[in-house]
Symmetry: C4
Subunit: 265 residues, 4 copies
């Protein structure tokens, strides 16, 4: 039953599982708020143990049901399932490492197992493929940002100096990232006139540079939206690619092209 | 008269109504500024009561004129009309709940009744339909943002800890949202080196992730601007493709096209 | 000579004029920096008077040369020219109103007179026409932003209250604008848990809403870049618009269309 | 060996060189962190000297190997190579100018020499050419931003005045840049009601104006992604239009096309 999601029982089970996972996440969240622990410490603890036992039972059940228990245990979801339950037991043994408990938040990833079978994954794959297609552009974008952050951060470190909060180059690089992404916390701001001038320049530069990821994503989405597929048609004579769907002759060698079959997917 | 907007009297009435609504909004705004209340408390009070009485008369008039008073009273605009006048009377009876008075701001929504009949609504519907078409993409986008906020917020809570202001996971998630949307208030900033490194990573990630809604909206608008329609419609006479959904005749051979069936999925 | 920009003397005069204008702007800027006035007060004063006299001479010369002096004096550039010189004289008579002096910054606009004759103006007009074409979309966008700012600002005023800095609804609306545009000064931040939750929601909403102007501008630019001109072709039989350049028959009435003449500009 | 990157030895050398450069950058970064210098001052110093000697040997080797030593020494990479080693020697002679040492960060640019020969440079050139094509648009964008910053900065200086932190027009211009780019540090915020109103207006304006670079980059990328080329090329045989610049034969009739002359303007 835990594996078949196509039956109606399986679907009800899935919806229930999602609810339980989300509820267990809420418990982890509330567990971190001191005032909540002070007031509802007891029921939170009870719920946490209920979920842990539930997940443990599910984990053991899965481990017994699957053909290759070891393969499951070392798979992505097997590890996530283990991580979901282990911290609570661990905290019982070694109560002082409470921070370690927060790893339970990864329970959230269990939701993916359920969504794995839905339509949503198609969109994910589509977006992922689009981004992989623009992989080189993104790499260049990141390298340019890194260089700008490194060089302009160093310049600001020299210009402003430790007396204005730019205590080291890594600190100045953090500031440069905050500025160029237009986040602008304001915990570190230029104090000298020259520093302010450079910062103004960086903000404008930042907008220009950061227009690039928007451009990459938008270009990809626009061409997907318009069903544009330029690279799939190949000339049988010279093997050149990128012919338009309407073209009747190869634009490179002049030979007639076979009729274009539109992708129906 | 209050229902017919097509006559010139109705149009003058509409313009007047918009002016009265906007003025009543201004009175609500000024009513919340202590220095204004101190200086112009009296005239503001008089104006507020004038508007309330005016809206009350209008409400009662509508209630009398319509065929199904109850259907009107429970409709969206009926509730808005009631909400526009009730708080002022209520404040007279129970003066201590002044905060409740601010619900009068919803008077603003009455403007929609008037604009309902104009050209602008077409654009709204068009944009709305476009966004509904991208509904699944937006859902995925939101779920990815939520996950990133939850997981990275928890990581920052563990890394920075309550001593640096990250008092709980929900607090850290608030910070993560502020950072990833590039708002960057600066009321909560990473203080440790590792925290700063993770924050820098989140900013860049945030730009990447948030390029997605821009991409969705832009792709939709670009294809609308270019009158681009999916190329699935074929002329039964010459088999040419790419006809617009609104087209009635084939643009290549001039033969009539069968009626287009809009995709309802 | 001051009117003819096509001769080489006129061009040299133009370049010189731009330099003088920019220099006079720099003087106005430095004039506002206390430390600069303390150190270079004398030479700045001398330069300011030199520029003022120069501009006065130019203004009088233009006034004498043109055929209709009154029409020039009341034109946009005539007013700018007067504003460029008047404050300095005025400050001599009434020295206490020094703030009034800063109106001299409008000297900058004189640059437009020179650029009026260059290629750049074409781009300005093109962008302006594009934006006017999207005028209704922009109006709707602004009205949606205004409504969101008004309603969400009021909500935050009620939720946070004056004790957390949200002293009035206009103040809360200022905060809402700062948040939704992702500026995020941090001079006013939500302090309650509910306030933080609403603020997080507003940030995401803000990104969505503000993706719209980016979408409008980008869609316009993309279609300009691709030389897409859908609305210029009209059917002579049924007067319907928006036919594609390749179409041979009207898609609405089936009548043949006259051959399309591509815009060569 | 240092010049030929096509052999496998050359490639190994390249990878090693990149690693050495990046490591030397890390040393420069750590050298600026006081706590790191206190703890690992000795090994950092040793590594710095190792890298300096290594780079010196490489520099001298290059100087000896090349045919025109002087041309290399005055070339971009020659200067970068010199800058990479000189500061360390210089700091030995004049220890008090330690800030000068940070110029070593330009070692990073040496990486470009290696990447010069890779595929990545193609993307850089492509993006660069795209941006040069939009050069005039970008110039106009920058001039509009400058004007808005200058004029609105002056307005805010007059409205807010030095008592609210707007001590001079350049300071107010810095604030205007911070606001219009949506960075929003919060080190300088409007304090008066009028100032806040103008600031709100500027934020919305800023979004509108700054949508332009995103639009430019996206339009360029979308048209690149779709392989869209201006429709000015016509087949001399069948007079069909819209041929790509790279096409050698007409895609409609298969006849050869005359060579395409790229627009050089």
């Amino acid at each position: 039953m835990i594996f078949e999601a196509d039956t109606s029982t399986g679907k009800t089970f899935d919806v229930l599982l999602v609810a339980v996972i989300l509820l267990s996440i809420v418990v982890v969240l509330l567990d971190s708020v001191p005032s909540m622990v002070g007031r509802f410490g007891r029921p939170l603890n009870v719920m946490e143990w209920t979920f842990t036992l539930l997940f443990t039972v599910e984990y053991v059940a899965r481990l017994c049901c699957v053909r290759h228990p070891w393969r499951y245990a070392t798979s992505f979801f097997g590890v996530i399932d283990l991580i979901s339950v282990l911290p609570t037991y661990f905290a019982l043994l070694v109560p002082e490492v409470s921070a370690f408990l927060d790893i339970r938040i990864l329970r959230l990833l269990r939701i993916f197992r359920i969504f794995k079978l839905t339509l949503y994954i198609t969109e994910y794959i589509r977006l992922g493929r689009a981004l992989r297609a623009s992989g080189r552009k993104i790499l260049i974008f990141l390298s340019v940002v890194m260089m700008a952050v490194l060089i302009l951060g160093t310049v600001m470190y020299v210009v402003e100096g430790p007396e204005n909060g730019f205590t080291s180059i890594p600190m100045a690089m953090y500031w440069a990232t905050v500025t160029m992404t237009t986040v602008g916390y304001g915990d570190l701001t230029p104090q000298t006139t020259l520093g302010r001038f450079i910062a103004s320049f960086m903000m404008l530069l930042g907008w220009g540079v950061l227009a690039v990821p928007t451009g990459i994503v938008t270009a990809e989405m626009t061409s997907q939206r318009m069903n544009w597929k330029p690279t799939t048609r190949t000339c049988p004579s010279c093997l050149s690619e990128g012919h338009e769907p309407e073209a009747k002759f190869c634009k490179d060698c002049g030979e007639p092209l076979p009729a274009y079959e539109y992708d129906t997917s």
